[in-house]
Amino acid sequence: MKAPLDAPRARLDEALAAPGQTLASVTQTISDIPLQHPYPRFWWTGFALAFALVLLLLTSIAWLFARGIGIWGVNVPVAWGFAIVNFVWWIGIGHAGTFISAILLLLHQQWRTSINRFTEAMTLFAVACAGLFPLLHLGRPQFFYWLLPYPDSMGLWPQFRSPLEWDVFAVSTYATVSLVFWYVGLLPDLATMRDRAATVSKARLYGLLSLGWRGDARHWEHYQKLYLLLAGLAAPLVVSVHTIVGFDFAIAILPGWHSTIFPPYFVAGAIFSGFSMVLTLIIPLRSIYKWQGMITARHLDLMAKVMMTTGWIVIYGYCDEFFNAWRSGDLFDRYVDVNRAIGPYAGYFWALMVCNVIAPQLLWARRLRNNVGVLFVVALLVNVGMWIERFVIVITSLHRDFLPSSWGMYHATFWDYSTLFGTVGLFVALLFLFLRFLPAISMTEMRHFVAMGKAGR
């Protein structure tokens, strides 16, 4: 009775790891990257380029603090410029990591095993970049703590009924829980690093970080329960975070924002952009670090499919926006959509259509989907497309609202772009440091995976 059910499952699992992998081989392949530091030329070039952008970011922030947010293109009526666009873009990118590590874990999708560590790190770094923007946008960032409920001498409270205040709680909870989830998952691997380290100083460093982990069966029992429950908490958390980001817009009365489709469509867009970022990063890294035995063609195929699925939910969101604007008969709502398509920012709108609606359709063809080059370009286009989507939502709704007398234009300045590209540099630099010092694939989960395959389950 059991054999026919198990047979296809075993075949499926094989495609997720190259044949001949053992406990020792996966451990060695993964831990050698931080310990032996192979391909130093690639690492140093990549890190140096990214670090140059980090310096640009620091310069931009220093200038911002010296002069104020007037150095950006924001003004009335477009008071939310790149800062909010970038914030939503980055936080959306982070969501794929939590989706892969938490939701796919709960759904028993074993293909998450070799990519979850990397994508969780991606989540953390994306959230770090995202978190910068609201703080920088405050104008007086030294007063950021006014957003927190603390016993102040003025007898004031934050406005708990505002979606912007919900954001403070959502993003800080998300950052904390993602960090905790990532670190708990790392503990057994840090112990492996400690035990494989060639020098005493490295063994001490990894030993301190692993907190004394020794693979005790009792500890594993607590650990597994905790990991599963953290995944169970992170799954609704990731949905809540981007729902609340969607509320930032949907609860405003501005035409083009005031719409009930926003929260679900934002969540789908977040996972869409996150998966495209995972593909953009994984495709070059797996060929440089020779991870093809662990991140196989099947992984890329599955990720491409998730990207397409969420892409279609996003397309449904676009259609719904247009349909409801037309159907509502509200002149302002209708005008926003006409203005998006043929107004002064029409170029952005059509670029968005090309990147997010047309490009992913190439992946319907199996031959194109399995072509790593095509997949990489499509993923890159979706990344750009999702940034443009947030630009279109934020800028075109604000620049022409109700009264034509208060219309205006938004022009991004050098400092807008330097901050955006600076955070890209920060993100890449953090990823490079992560690759250099920590195991980028979960050795524990790969060992478990390999052992299960051997047991014939």
């Binding site: 409270w157 009924r161 492996t192 907190l211 004394g212 009792r218 607590h222 478990h448």
Partner: protein, 174 residues
């Protein structure tokens, strides 16, 4: 008298022989056993006490939820804002923060409970002094019969370990 021992540490190179040894040792009457594995081994391990982490996280989540809601409810009275005569206890607007604080407290309590239960951070443990133990985090499975076990030092233990094809057996100093 010999120097004090922590226990007898046996290494196994496969999960199957490790499980077989663990089962036989249990059957023989060993009670103070520690098992160390490079990945979580679900079945075959002795029925150690169930982990209380689930309950701890549930209680912490409930505390976070009620505390979070209470904070907002209290703030609405402590600094009342009359928005078009709407009730001060505008509970639907308090749900998002209540939810976030539920998740935050449950997650943090879970991690703190895990560290507490596992005794982390811990800088040293007797098994670390055994050079073989470096592979416990890679590709070997270990069983430690602790020195305070009633069967410690008996022939039954040695024989069981040999029968189960232990790769190596050696004492570990405390």
């Amino acid at each position: 008298m010999n120097p004090p021992c922590h226990g007898l540490l046996a290494a196994f190179d496969s999960e199957e022989s490790f499980r077989r040894a663990l089962r036989s040792l249990r059957d023989a009457g060993c009670v103070l056993l520690d098992a160390y594995t490079p990945y979580p081994v679900e079945s075959g391990v002795p029925p150690w006490a169930a982990t209380p982490i689930g309950w701890i996280m549930l209680l912490a989540g409930a505390a976070g939820a009620s505390g979070g809601f209470f904070m907002q409810w209290f703030a609405a009275r402590d600094y009342p804002l009359n928005v078009g005569g709407r009730p001060l206890n505008s509970w639907p607007a308090f749900i998002p923060i209540t939810f976030e604080l539920t998740v935050l407290t449950a997650a943090l309590a879970g991690v703190i409970a895990f560290f507490w239960l596992a005794g982390f951070p811990r800088l040293h443990h007797p098994v670390f002094s055994d050079p073989r133990f470096k592979r416990a985090s890679q590709d070997r499975f270990f069983i430690c019969i602790r020195a305070d076990d009633p069967l410690y030092g008996s022939d039954i233990v040695r024989r069981t370990l040999a029968d189960a094809q232990a790769e190596s057996v050696a004492e570990v100093l405390a």
